[in-house]
Amino acid sequence: MFKHSLSLVVFKKEFLESIRDKRVILGVIISPLLVTPLLMGTILFFAGKKEIEKRQAIIDIGIVENGSFSELTNWLEERESTKTSHFPTKEEASQAIQDRTIRAAIVVSKDAQTQYQANGSAALEILFNASNENSINGLSRAQRLIRQFDEFALEKRIRAESLPESFASPTEIETTNLATSKSTGSLVLGMILPYLIVISAAFGGIQTAFDLCAGEKERGTMETLLVSPASREELVRGKLLTILLISLIASLCAITGILAPLAFGLELFKDLVGDQISFDLLSILWMLLLVIPLALFTSSLLLVISSFARNQKEAQTYILPFISVVLLPAILSSVLGAESNIYTAFIPVLNISLTMKQIFGNLSEPLYFAISLSTSLLYAYLAMRLATALFQREQILFRT
């Protein structure tokens, strides 16, 4: 009883100190709850705005034709989204693209009209500058326009030959989507959220972990603490519980930072998840449950690093392998499908991330879930034992 209460005493003190640390408040609460949604919203807003502008903008397209394909040029000139300029030579059109007075130019071959009228293919060339984003946009607009002209011309040819309209379409495809817009939204969320939760749970505890051990050594408070009657195990448990709780808060804030704007139905985010934005509360609860063994594992690893390091600066140099251990499986999980090989259930971080993905995809795989959960708990236990063992070693604790 006394042992447990001392762990609790250490935990309460460490947590109090952690939440008074401005760096923790900024990184764990303010950033994911305010900065991330604001940043995402701003990026999506401007990206969307630019896309709309790109689609609606009237673009300047040059034509080098010299009367050889009037049917095309007349058709182009009738388009409201296009402003055409005629150039006598290809060189002059090229210069205009380089000078950015036009975005792209269509060069019509001399026998284009003849080929066209003989039901052949009129040779066209599009000039553009790949180092200019507007010119690339001009290329795609010119290609789209020519495809539209092709449809228009094909329709005319079919009519002239008295052929049925189906002549140009040997097959007719109709697609039926069995997913509800809710499950479509879940799929998108399932791709984003596990990655986000894993990253936030793992990285949310870094500052606290470094402060609790390496920071104590650096500031000279470690000796004061070690001379108290609390055992090394009690100290490790108290510190670990603090890192775990901070990591879980970080994760919760990250989830809230993403889901809250969706729940409020912001138009900006709506495009990401389909027409109807909704998510299963039960799935969220499962994810919160799954994040506990994951956060316990990453918190223990962070405590190992922090116990080993002489000071916080040194701890930061040891963080690179930790980032790899967390980041690579997290990235992999967003690429891999939810129906993954059972062996992946043994890989730390990846297993929890994929299990979360399965939950969001309404994919029930009890065996995968059981292996994933039990191995994660085992890894967390082993990392915890390692942290405790390091805390027993006086060479480590008194390294300065």
Binding site: V9, L16, E17, T224, V227, S228, P229
Partner: protein, 275 residues
């Protein structure tokens, strides 16, 4: 500021009957304490070799030595922070090897390098160490309030430790080290890096501990502190006790009157023997 340590007069006196009967004479008994460690550059290093000494109740025992002599390692072994490679010690009747937690509960530890938690207030700091020593509820409240009042911490009790002056921090450190009323105090170069005024507070505190019957082990390399405080002195050099006795005894043994000369003579004789 009045005498910041008068509160000690009202504290319960340490009773010898708290320890086992065979140790009634020595509150601290160190026998052949030895500590070796492996260093990448120097190989096997003997930091402390066969250090033995006994401290009687209400006595201030000084470990006098130069930097790197082995004083801190010896005190860290007594405080169970380091495990001896060889030898043993008992504090207040508890063996440092088999009952480390009881030993830690019986000691107050203060060194010049021990710091405070910057984001805790002075009051929270005292309460935290009281709780770590198993004091709870109204007893903790009473101990904390008494220390705050008697060490005149009241005006900055709710101020964060990182905002306190050196003198204020030192008063909180004292309160932190005695909140659980330990029978033994261990001081490891407690005045290191402190100004004269703050050093005087610490010295007065050590004297008050003796007056209250606490047993004190105290390490220093400052001769004037030894002359003023220590009832018994052990001169430590290269991890070994080179000479031991009261200050008058050491003076008599070496034929020197100034403590600095006493120290140098003992150390030089040992060096000559080693050569």
């Amino acid at each position: 500021m009045g005498d910041p340590l008068f509160f000690l007069e009202s504290r319960p006196q340490y009773r010898l009957s708290q320890g086992p009967s065979h140790l009634l004479q020595s509150v601290i008994a160190a026998e052949n304490l030895t500590k070796t460690f492996r260093d990448k550059k120097r190989g096997l290093v003997r930091a402390v070799t066969d250090v033995s000494f006994h401290c009687q109740p209400g006595e201030i025992f000084g470990l006098l030595g130069a930097n790197g002599a082995g004083k801190t390692t010896t005190l860290r072994m007594l405080a169970t922070l380091l495990e001896p490679t060889k030898g043993s010690a008992t504090i207040a009747g508890y063996d440092i090897g088999s009952h480390p937690q009881d030993v830690r509960r019986s000691i107050g530890f203060l060194s010049g390098s021990t710091a405070l938690y910057g984001r805790l207030t002075a009051k929270e700091m005292i309460r935290y160490f009281g709780q770590l020593n198993g004091i709870t509820g109204s007893t903790l409240q009473q101990h904390t309030n008494e220390l705050i009042e008697q060490l005149e911490i009241g005006e900055f009790q709710d101020g964060r430790c990182d905002k306190l002056s050196t003198g204020q921090k030192q008063r909180v450190s004292i309160a932190r080290s005695i909140v659980h009323s330990p029978p033994v105090m261990i001081f490891d170069e407690p005045t290191s890096g402190l100004d004269v005024m703050t050093s005087q507070t610490i010295m007065a505190f050590i004297e008050q501990c003796r007056s209250d019957g606490l047993t004190v082990v105290f390490s220093t390399h400052i001769m004037s502190e030894v002359e003023r405080l220590c009832d018994h002195v052990a001169i430590v050099h290269h991890g070994k006790i080179a000479a031991e006795g009261t200050v008058p005894e050491l003076r008599s043994q070496t034929g020197e009157s100034a403590m600095e000369n006493v120290f140098l003579k003992v150390v030089n004789e040992l060096e000559a023997e080693n050569v």
